[in-house]
Amino acid sequence: MPLTTREELRELRGKYEQSLTAEKKKILVCAGTGCISSGSLEIYDRLIALMKEQNIDCAVELEEEPHEQTVGMKKSGCHGFCEMGPLLRVEPQGWLYTKVKLEDCEDIIEKTIAKGEHIERLAYQKGGTVSKKQDEIPFYQKQTRLVLEHCGHIDATSIKEYFGIGGYQAFEKALFDMSADDIIAEISDSNLRGRGGGGFPAGRKWKQVKSQQTEEKYIVCNGDEGDPGAFMDRSIMEGDPHRLLEGMMIAALACGSKEGYIYVRAEYPMAVSRLKTAIAQAMEYGLLGDNILGSNFSFHLHINRGAGAFVCGEGSALTASIEGKRGMPRVKPPRTVEQGLFDKPTVLNNVETFANVPLIITNGQKWYKSIGPENSPGTKAFALTGNIENTGLIEVPMGTTLREIIFDIGGGMRDGGEFKAVQIGGPSGGCLTQKHLDLPLDFDSLKKAGAMIGSGGLVVMDDKTCMVEVARFFMSFTQNESCGKCVPCREGTKRMLEILERIVEGNGQDGDIELLLELADTISATALCGLGKTAAFPVVSTIENFRDEYEAHIYAKRCPSGTCQKLKSIVIIADQCKGCSKCSRACPVSAISGKIKEPFVIDQEKCIKCGACISTCPFHAIQEG
């Protein structure tokens, strides 16, 4: 039944708030993509089945009538600690169970649900310390989860639970208590900067769109999180979809828009289905549609799925894609705020940006500015991945240092590796090294260090990672994803990749580093769109920080980290070789020769580095060097 007045919404929210607080016991099974892939849904089903068997009252849906004795069973959004999944949160104790298996279900019912006992083997343990509660785990201790606060704590598929924790309060306030200018002033004053990479002030964008004198305007959410190694937006869309909707609705209210689009990567099927559910629910309650809550504000939301093109993260390519065209960026001006989607003024923000909006409206810009540094207030979600102990999704105040993230939250390097660099900002970003460990992560200081926040992917690399190969990897990505429109990006990245490929294959030439830098300069200066302009950053940044590695590849034909296959050489240690000829017989390309009982030698020209000789040598006389 659609709500038609503010009072009805308040009343309903009140009921669900009560109901949610009344619900004493509940189990939140993480239903993020990570935990699902580790089998969390089977656990969810198993727990329900077991409770039914044992006549334990359980409710999968929040009801208006509070019921204290029932166990609430919820599918929550992503906790961010995917590696420890499947994760289970037990309320009211706030315990977090990790790596839960189907076999554990009986115990959970018997001990935890029935008797309220903690199961120690399921708790997170590190270095002999057992962390019962989520907040006690070092991974979470240093985080400030605002945007991700609901992820893992409420049922991601239920608008009722969203009501229950005060959902759509910000929208209600904006709709009834604030003018469009008030909203824009609040967002502007909060200094909320776009989380999609550029860090453009959201309030200024909204103001520009509001000032356009056209009937049609659009609110577009960029959920095309294409940076490899980033999944913050995915978690928000999957774990707290209503928060995103609410943010977009407030933007529509502020700018005078009646229609919005959410563009989601095709690789995120679950985000699409959760958003669809959320939109349907919001429509059912009259929060989307015409004359919302009896006001004269109308807003409709559509979902567009991407079809596999990284470049569609660029604003004008994204709008072209929604229009059914090739996702090729167009020249600017006109800018998106003047002529965006269907040539109409358009607010284009990413998921995380919109998700910040309800917080600012509810708590006020002053509160928001109290978090993080003045010029980049608020928090930032990062996807922490790579050769690090704790991988996952984290949220920290802007200005947190890299050291805190890697060593406190991330738990340091994995497998005893040594920290070498962090790649930040994906294919458009750069790398940060030892000397940047105490750099505060925010828009401006990163820019100064030659990197960018981008959407927030942090890939940590250890000393066994070859930086030239990393640069090649990113260039190959960008080259593959270049739309092909402008010459510098299409042809330039192709040539840069060609050079990087020959370097990692041991065919680098004198002058290649200079040629790479020259091409990088041309591409950055002349490419048509933001993606092209930043395409060469990973290369420039690795050359700046690890020039010696490049030189080793080019001049000494050596890969210092031992990563580059083609630069490996296999040698026979003469002292240890007994001349038995086993290796020579095992070699598939007849690269090994010698006289019996004398040391054999490998012809490096013929050798294909297959390693067959190493495993056949009874005297361990053959080594990779």
Partner: protein, 564 residues
Amino acid sequence: MNTKQFMTIDGTPVEIGEEKNLLELIRKVGIKMPTFCYHTELSVYGACRMCMVENEWGGLDAACSTPPKAGAVIQTNTAKLRKYRKNILELLLANHCRDCTTCSNNGKCKLQDLAMRFNIQGVRFPNGKTEPKLDDSSLCITRDTNKCILCGDCVRVCNEIQDVGAIDFARRGSKMTISTAFDRPIANSPCVGCGQCAAVCPTGAIVVKDDSKKVWKALDDKNTRVSVQIAPAVRVALGKELGVDDGENAMGKIVAVLRHMGFDDIYDTSTGADMTVLEESAEFLRRLDTEQEFPLFTSCCPAWVQFCEKHHPELLPHVSTCRSPMEMFAAVIKEHAKDSDKKMFHVAVMPCTAKKYEAAREEFKIEDMPNVDAVITTQEMIRMVKESGIIFSDFEPEAVDMPFGMMSGAGVIFGVSGGVTEAVLRRLAADKSKTGLISIAYQGVRGMEGVKETQIPYGDKVLKIAIVSGLKNANNLIESIKNGEHYDFVEVMACPGGCVSGAGQPYVDSALRASRGKGLYRADKQCNINRSEENPLMTSLYDGLLKGKVHELLHVDYLKSGKH
């Protein structure tokens, strides 16, 4: 009050006028700004990045997509810009078949020209596109994807101006190409052969098919009598390549030169156009009595005819059954010479690429031999003249040959949009005085606009006439007709502005194309006869050669051809 606005380009204050972007303003002050993908008539694409300029803060803007702003200060030629332009050229050349000397666009290629201007002396990258990769399927154009620099000009012409949609971008990134659907041969696509893609192509990636070899062979053969007809638009479009101004009527010189080169009989297609006027007027009057829902569409333009066949077959019954002037004339010429003992070879010099296709149509063959044996474009004729070592300007004008050496000014203006309509109106008009002629000229039929409409009283009726050029305009008109708009007569020319802008002509900007049109109207004025029916040759033809053969020689039934 002084409302003039200025900005500074390379240190010079420049007044900002109506220019849409910096590029136009920069060119206005005489700076030759390099670009591959900018055309005034097309949407701004902004992909070649050659027209970047440096602003006062050292940032770069693409001139093609930046509007002029009062007070702005820009530089067009800094060390930084030169370096980037050179690098972009080098990148393009690295991915380009570089057999310039044997390329049919040699000397006209923008890439070649800019490589020369920017003194590119080496390419530091390996070249993967050394061999041509040809699509030779069309009779009108040849495509070589290995010479393509992906500026997208052809795609935009084909879609934005012509609405033909034969080609588009395919794939992306460095695998991107310009292609038909499923990379089919262009002949099996919706392509109508208008050749506008070739006209705008900055390199040799799309070129007009060359048929000059066939003509040389015929000229060299002692046992072949070679006749040639020259289309109206050719005479005003030789341009600087032969040392003539666009718009200057060089017909007399062309005749003299071709005669010198060995052509035996030289005629003017305007004579064929006179026949078309008479036939089309008669057809129009016949139809007017039957009060048809659809107008009569002209049929002179072969690209338009093919556009109907491929895109709007339902309109074919409304397309005039008149053959084009070239085909009417060729039929007459061949009929006249049918008893000759010599082998006859008839050449048509046309501003048009689609004529090559028209000449090869089954409808225009007699015993498997086409009436027009070879169509060469203006450009091919220019090349042949150059190959002959002739100094064009040294020749004195000569007259065309008899017995078909008479034409009216009405036939001459066929070469420009609105010309066919004006010629037909002259035929239909009751007032045969000089002032009557002039009044028709002021009915809104002239000018290079893509869509022109006029209403002419005829008897107790008012005739509603539309003149469109550019197939997108034609498509829009068809749409409005289908939505109930009524017209009696519609002239369609595929190329914007008519045949003067044909893809077979040397490519020039729109201002020069307009002066070609004006040149044809001047030529008309200089003719003694301005009405087709007053051409004495017509009377003798209809009383003689054409007697009982009008239908056979001058008409065609595209509907029956069933090629679609």
